[in-house]
Symmetry: C2
Subunit: 251 residues, 2 copies
DNA sequence: CTGCTCAATTGATCCATGTCAAAACACAAT
DNA sequence: ATTGTGTTTTGACATGGATCAATTGAGCAG
């Protein structure tokens, strides 16, 4: 093994050790910290979330068909979930940012249903599912919290069905930008200026559109003064304007 | 109160009493009977699933915005789930038949996210959510089973996203028929002959298509000898033919 | 800096599905 | 049977977004 490689690994170990902080101090509170836990319960939770894993851009966290045994809390970075069809067609079914939970699709049949791919260098905490089950039998607020997260995923997906089934291209893209903005805001980032982590093609796949259509919509919103776009950078200049894109629909 | 009305109510009570059978004997096993329960656990389950409710065609089991407090197991009949938009547009997000579970969308935010409407006279068992939570802390196979059902709903929805985002009209409709056929089969009904409970418009809404497009696809499949359709009646003549509709896609 | 590759933009054209309209049909109430 | 209402089918036409193609730009390796 090359000396540089060895050094890199050692330094990685060092970094991992530093990052092995308690869940109680984790900035990704929403997942692993349902309100109202005792100190003892917090310690149990800490023991549950045992492994932290780093991924480079392009790495897959898991693939469709692989056995399921853990959920993943995104600590930093950005992921896409992708379902592939028999004939090779695929579709992006969601994007996950820091503070969100990944992998709940695997519980139902014991194998993952989609690929989770890092869109930038990322870090996750893995949460062994069998231990989550045990612990949530003991800590009812954890149980309740976990059920809520599953249910919200169901609701999120029916929102996407609405996008895909009932909205036109520009409405979908306006809704996409607003959703991204709102989630970034909830995580403490600027809701008005951000860098897209995904390509136009990935946005298109998620929204059931071709990349050219996504690009054209961005250009149109830009010309209409609703946003500024330059490559991956987006600045939203009029939240209201974007909302009107799909509010102003006449049926 | 009119005499006829009184009589009707009394007779309803009678029917309810008759139907108050134990979960152990219920034909809707998949929901309320995770494998391997002891007699005591079965009795507990029995007490959990307390209220049976009858709905006439067109009745809503619950509406978006109403407080959530129970899940519903469909004992007989057929439902659609529908999400309505601010501007009045709506979309069917799913169909549920006997043996399936309804209402998991409500857990996340404590209010229902969609309307559940009976498409024919139906009967459901209501399962108070707070008691389901309690009981699933005690009976781990119930807990596991419930988690699976939630997860499968997530997987189902990402399948629909695939339909809506990546498949063409005829592919969507072929997939829809095959899915219906497979679910009917799992419930012990004929997978090759059945009556649709929903209109072309409802199918279209679910699949992101207009009713005319649905009708044309049915006619085309009929002419191609894949199915027979006459109004609501469908006979599938070639499962393989339907599968090839979306397998034969060249990308 | 140069060349390479991949992402994004923009224009021109095409086509799958939507839209509009009319007729046939089914079912329920009277 | 008659009438009314909602569903389905079918045809003619319109259009939003896909497709095809060319160009520009960004990021990266050498």
């Amino acid at each position: 093994m090359a000396r540089a490689e060895l050094l890199r690994q050692q330094s990685t170990h060092l970094v991992l050790a530093e990052l092995k902080v308690a869940c109680a101090n984790c900035n990704v509170r929403e997942i692993c910290q349902p309100a109202g836990l005792t100190q003892e319960e917090l310690d149990q939770l800490d023991a549950l979330v045992n492994v932290r894993r780093k991924l480079k851009r392009g790495d897959t966290l898991y693939r469709a068909g692989e056995p399921f045994d853990a959920l993943y809390a995104v600590r930093s970075g950005f992921f896409k979930a992708r379902v592939t069809f028999e004939d090779g067609r695929d579709q992006v079914t969601g994007f996950s940012m820091a503070g969100e939970l990944l992998g709940m699709d695997g519980i139902g049949h014991g194998t993952h249903n989609c690929d989770a791919v890092a869109l930038e260098d990322s870090e996750v905490c893995s949460i062994p599912y069998s231990r989550l089950e045990e612990l949530s039998r003991e800590i009812s607020s954890l149980q309740r919290h976990f059920h809520k997260l599953m249910s919200r995923e169901i609701v999120r997906e029916s929102g996407v069905m609405m996008l895909l089934g009932a909205m036109r291209a520009e409405e979908r893209i306006a809704a996409f930008l607003l959703n991204l903005s709102q989630r970034l805001n909830a995580r403490g980032y600027s809701p008005l200026e951000f860098n897209l982590r995904m390509t136009r093609e990935e946005i298109g796949s998620y929204l059931g559109l071709k990349l050219e259509t996504v690009s054209r919509a961005f250009s149109k919103f830009h010309n209409d003064g609703l946003i500024e776009v330059e490559q991956k950078f987006v600045r939203i200049k009029s939240i209201e304007g974007l909302k009107q894109i799909y509010a102003h629909h006449v049926s």
